[in-house]
Symmetry: C3
Subunit: 463 residues, 3 copies
Amino acid sequence: MLIHEDRLFPAEPGIRKIAKALYAQVRSLPIISPHGHTQASWFAKNEPFPDPAKLFVQPDHYVYRMLYSQGVSLEDLEIGQAELKDPRKVWGIFARHYYLFRGTPTRMWLDFAFQELFGMEERLSAKNADHYFDVISEKLRTPEFLPRALYKHFNLEVLATTNSALDSLADHRAIRDSNWKARIVPTFRPDSVVDPDFNGFAGNIAKLGEQTGEDCSTWAGYLKALRVTRRQFQELGCTATDHGHPTAQTANLSPAEAGKLFQLILAGNTEPAQNELFRAQMLTEMARMSIEDGLVMQIHPGSMRNHNHLIFERYGRDMGGDIPRTTNYVDALRPLLDQFGNEAGLTLILFTLDESTYSRELAPLAGHYPCLRLGPPWWFHDSPEGMMRFRERVTETAGFYNTVGFNDDTRAFLSIPARHDMARRVDCAYLAKLVSDHRLEEDEAMELAHDLTYGLAKKAYRL
Amino acid sequence: MLIHEDRLFPAEPGIRKIAKALYAQVRSLPIISPHGHTQASWFAKNEPFPDPAKLFVQPDHYVYRMLYSQGVSLEDLEIGQAELKDPRKVWGIFARHYYLFRGTPTRMWLDFAFQELFGMEERLSAKNADHYFDVISEKLRTPEFLPRALYKHFNLEVLATTNSALDSLADHRAIRDSNWKARIVPTFRPDSVVDPDFNGFAGNIAKLGEQTGEDCSTWAGYLKALRVTRRQFQELGCTATDHGHPTAQTANLSPAEAGKLFQLILAGNTEPAQNELFRAQMLTEMARMSIEDGLVMQIHPGSMRNHNHLIFERYGRDMGGDIPRTTNYVDALRPLLDQFGNEAGLTLILFTLDESTYSRELAPLAGHYPCLRLGPPWWFHDSPEGMMRFRERVTETAGFYNTVGFNDDTRAFLSIPARHDMARRVDCAYLAKLVSDHRLEEDEAMELAHDLTYGLAKKAYRL
Amino acid sequence: MLIHEDRLFPAEPGIRKIAKALYAQVRSLPIISPHGHTQASWFAKNEPFPDPAKLFVQPDHYVYRMLYSQGVSLEDLEIGQAELKDPRKVWGIFARHYYLFRGTPTRMWLDFAFQELFGMEERLSAKNADHYFDVISEKLRTPEFLPRALYKHFNLEVLATTNSALDSLADHRAIRDSNWKARIVPTFRPDSVVDPDFNGFAGNIAKLGEQTGEDCSTWAGYLKALRVTRRQFQELGCTATDHGHPTAQTANLSPAEAGKLFQLILAGNTEPAQNELFRAQMLTEMARMSIEDGLVMQIHPGSMRNHNHLIFERYGRDMGGDIPRTTNYVDALRPLLDQFGNEAGLTLILFTLDESTYSRELAPLAGHYPCLRLGPPWWFHDSPEGMMRFRERVTETAGFYNTVGFNDDTRAFLSIPARHDMARRVDCAYLAKLVSDHRLEEDEAMELAHDLTYGLAKKAYRL
């Protein structure tokens, strides 16, 4: 047996009993997945997933960054190859190094999928690598393992993807136009057209103009084009935007100043500080548009992208070489909050990779401003210890109702049930501790378990 | 029942038993409250507290910042009104939103007061809001609920208020001149006359001159006026000063440089950096005066005041819109410590809102410099988890004897017993864990429980 | 009894049982001590340690910084005296203040030595100070307490000292040339010849030239001299270098730029920023040499040395007046990592005094770059809570195999077994918790306990 029925519950019998009772109420609730990186094309086409290596190793930088850190070459893992030459060999390398994941959440997510989806019972190792490969490969060819079947099997109620503002959304349209009853919605991610440092920015702006028929050589036309695009996303079910900036810096320029800056940016000879100011201003513009059109706004700051320049040059973005940095919110968000902080119509969800901000900045901000909510622990902190630190550091100041439930934030579709299950278990463990401490009564904990699992995400993301 | 006899004690039976034994020794010790924000006028006049809304909602920014963060308007709560038009309605709004406080210390403080002082047994909700309102209102009209009676009932041994350097201290004088046997002492808080960015700074300096008869247009006269005022505070029992600066920056200018800066400040055309330098220099001046007159010095840095400018404009200071920032101590305190750090006669108590400094800066500093002590977790961190993090992060480097017991730091008089009780429980839980780990023997833990509850505060604050 | 058989094991019976089983497998493993500050001369000469005060109080800034923080004068402790005038009096002061160490790891290390080495059973206090002094003094004169006997008694397999690049290594040579079978190896610490702010830098460079016969007035000659010296260290068993810089800043100048900077530095009229740049460049040069000669590289950044200038002036370096600062790794290391980050032949071990970097920067970096490993919690964080925070914050992202086992990092030879024992217990407690959480199976935990105690240190340090 790879995963234990009582995993992640507190050891002390009194608390464990409470945790299990809470979990029993929420374990089978539908999954709300309001933020993630699965591909709509999977569901539009509904083709079988290829082999185990392509499914578990290639798309998951949690997996191959660890292998790489211990000397496994990305070439050997065939990372970046559209078709794998020798998936069984890749799988074998992964299996041989599976011990590296001891103590990591990746190990728990994988074991969950191996057991619950593929019926494996013995820990993955060099010895049973081929057996794993064969069993998984075979199952992937069955109808039960087609993307749409898995969506249903996973008990998903809604699944949000993340989409460039330049995405045609053809796959979302195809899903909508099919007979399939499912709710797969895009999320508006405009980084490529609001961040002057984004690869190909000028071309992206041009493409935005073409796509919307607006004149993107003027500030007014550019803003109009963004409004139009947001509207197109909304027509396909989108309820949220997402902003992956290096910092949380916002700005509040006058329209004249902003327009002038936009022209400088378009001309392409700006300093880094001007690019940062433009990104900052665009967060405030996005907040303004959110107040108009009701899209919930998410800010995911604080990652230094492509830290490993060799990997970036050879393999491109999102290859496990992004590293968090110290992130400031209290000064950075002030310009936006000065303008819109007291607007009840705005929902602005903040994420962090800098846990020192939980109790110092984020909980005090979210515990005061009506527009602010705290997103769940993100990326490196989306783990049992990380989730517990989040609750322990934010709840006392911001309470539960300024948080928004769980995000799986994953590219690995098969890990979704495992990730939500982990969040449910950790939240129940936390609530059980509060009950055991007599800080909360059991009926309240029950209501909270439901809210943290289901209610808060639906409400915050307006789903 | 709202509060449980064993709340906040560890769940593991062996540790719980030790914690309870420790707590039994300290639960009834008198309360030393060396830092807080109650009003001397309450005790000077000894008039009944008005209604429940005025008592529990209006003065407590812990309460209404949470309500505000969830969309309750401050207008509806009648915040800032001298007389409430409809206290029952305000109370009803509060009761309806009481669930927002789940998992917060505010909830525990309130339940403590509701049960222990007013005999309530059922959790506050929309349903019983009127009943609560009636019971509390009635009790508040009885002699047992007059401020002086409560002071006695709470078993207070000494209660320090916090007073502007410009406060006439008439209320403290009135208490002293009455027959009432109690120890209510002022704390010297000179922010309004040492911080050039304080509202009305120039007028404040003028008032300081009038009040003391010193010529505050010269550096020497200004310092003299501060010395005279400190002396006046001391005559009414004051043993400590308090400094609420944006940062912990100190400076060590020559008298000539300092005098020159003072003239620039008075002339009113300084840059922000010069204002910061002046505040920094004034901390060092205050340390110098403390060595002379024996007043214990407290520094409370790191809060960005009035972050929400709309709230500040409408309601003024201290309305729940202050947000902590990253705080540096190691560089900032060096100028002061270079001058006075090795003076055994000086006691300088440091507080923080940036928990990342506990193990990195504060414990190493306090575990070395003879003048330094660490204040208890403050404000947003004055909570069960916050207190535990403080002990876990500072004890191993600074020990217990470089800490100073508990501060309730509250404007909410009725929360004082609840807050001290919480601190006693958490400290006993921490000590019990050390005993269970065999890191401490039980007789030592007993002595420490007493010191943390009573002895260290009296000693550090020279009470 | 001073130390309990079950100290530091978790209280919950199920977890405790697992922890004890793990610990039973590793408690008697030989000690690998790959980083510390003991003196090779002790083992070269093999003379008796002098009295208890000279042994336990004088060399240990953990001890006297705490005493100093509570008003004990360093004069009274005879700190800095080559020969103590009244060791019994110094011991008495220490004994009287022993209660100050409650809750600190120092207390546990001392009690371990008192009981395990000297057979004491009653807690040190003013009352039994003389008895302790007599018993310890007597034992120190026996053959069993000579340095070489203790080395054997402690079950040391290898002990690394830390040595200036200017050290003649005569003591190491003497040990090698004696018949004694032991492995005491130097570590190459070049701070005095790569840090322009180091006391007597110019003279140090001159001495380096003399020592190696290289022309240290040129950039090429200087680098050559460093290479030669590293080789001399290697001949005496050295496998690692150590770099104690104020920050983790690295640089990647061209040879021409670096040579030019070196000439400015030699000329002695540089700005602080140029000195910092030179240190930064030298880390990259050291990495280059490590790739050539295979020495493992350690960076110990983030301490502000000699914060207390009075103590520094009177007593010199390393007197307990060093205070940690905020430390950045993600930007600082980038120049070096851009050049060498993907070199499998390089091992670069990072330490920190800023725990906020564990989950934010260090674990993500080590969980990606093949050359990076994380050193154990260091200095102020080398404690039960500190070790647990380290595991909890780094394991989920970096796993166990990007860490390198324990360093005792001590000047106090007699504390070595106590420190390693503490690390073994805390690691077993952490592993037991993972097993109890069903995040790890017991056979894996067993293997990991062995690796964390023995295998990882040997492998990472190439011992």
